[in-house]
């Protein structure tokens, strides 16, 4: 089987906003326990409020949960030519405009920032802009995914 390169026509494309994702205290706790995030601000609403947050806040990488829902739109698009079994995570960046907080209703908008070919691989940079349902910027998550070429 010949692996096709990722379709370069997708560079610059912005996808429709995702369905709203509701950030829950339960998911924050589960994620915090899984990564060993020990700050009580993730599990104790009183601690969170004393620090000025509306409720418990998510650990710094929790936003990947929503960003991967955004990326999924690209990966499953048959015209994009991405073989998910050959996808490797190359880079990740989060810029938090404010912490994701329990009760937030988050919408993600995916843009494919760039697609380039290097050494038989395709490098795809995706950017997920996470906002509240009202449009308040929450987190910008940028990923580089590497789609390995055949024979590597």
């Amino acid at each position: 089987m010949v692996t096709m390169a990722v379709n370069p026509a997708f560079a610059g494309r912005t996808f429709p906003p995702t369905a709203p994702y509701v950030v829950s205290a339960a998911k924050i706790r589960e994620f915090a326990e899984a990564v060993g995030a020990a700050d009580p601000v993730h599990v104790d609403p009183q601690v969170a409020r004393e620090r000025g947050y509306a409720d418990v806040i998510a650990p710094p990488t929790f936003a990947v949960l929503i960003a991967q829902l955004c990326d999924h739109q690209l990966i499953v698009d048959p015209d994009a030519g991405i073989d998910f079994s050959r996808v490797v995570h190359g880079e990740q960046k989060f810029v938090h405009h404010r912490p994701l907080t329990a009760g937030d209703v988050v919408v993600g908008t995916l843009t494919v920032d760039s697609i380039r070919q290097a050494g038989g691989h395709s490098m795809v940079v995706t950017r997920s802009e996470l906002t509240s349902a009202g449009g308040e910027p929450l987190t910008t998550a940028t990923s580089t995914i590497v789609v390995r070429g055949e024979g590597s």
Binding site: K27, E30, F31, E33, A34, V35, G36, A37, A38, D39, P40, V41, H42, R51, Y53, I57, P59, P60, T61, V64, L65, Q68, S85, V88, H89, G90, E91, Q92, K93, F94, V95, H96, P99, T142
Partner: protein
Amino acid sequence: MSVRRFAEVSVGEALPALTVHVDRARLVQYAGASLDRNRIHWDERFAVSVGLPDVIAHGMFTMGSAIEIVSAWVGDAGRVVEYSTRFTKPVVVPYAEGADLAVTGVVTATDETTRRATVELGVTCGPDKVLGRCLAVVQLD
């Protein structure tokens, strides 16, 4: 717990080091929490069948667990305003002994205007540097 003040921080300061132990149970826990259920992270037969030496940790598990060194130091996880890395080598997680991640952090820059500091993290597993150019920006008081 109080948030670290800008005046307390200087370039070159080393953060207290952190070790993270990762085993299969931990990866299953992270798979459930993160909804990344890719079998290469918990199913040894599957991992080997796609050419990996063994089960490997989620890159995002490594990234997500390493930042604890910064959250604990700054005194509020919500003060981590930027966090980025490259995934340079996989963390191989053998069934019996698991793997240990050694995490270090050094302040590499400060900005008096914004009262922010940049911490560069070093994350290794045995001889391998598993995260590259791993940087966190924190908002200090």
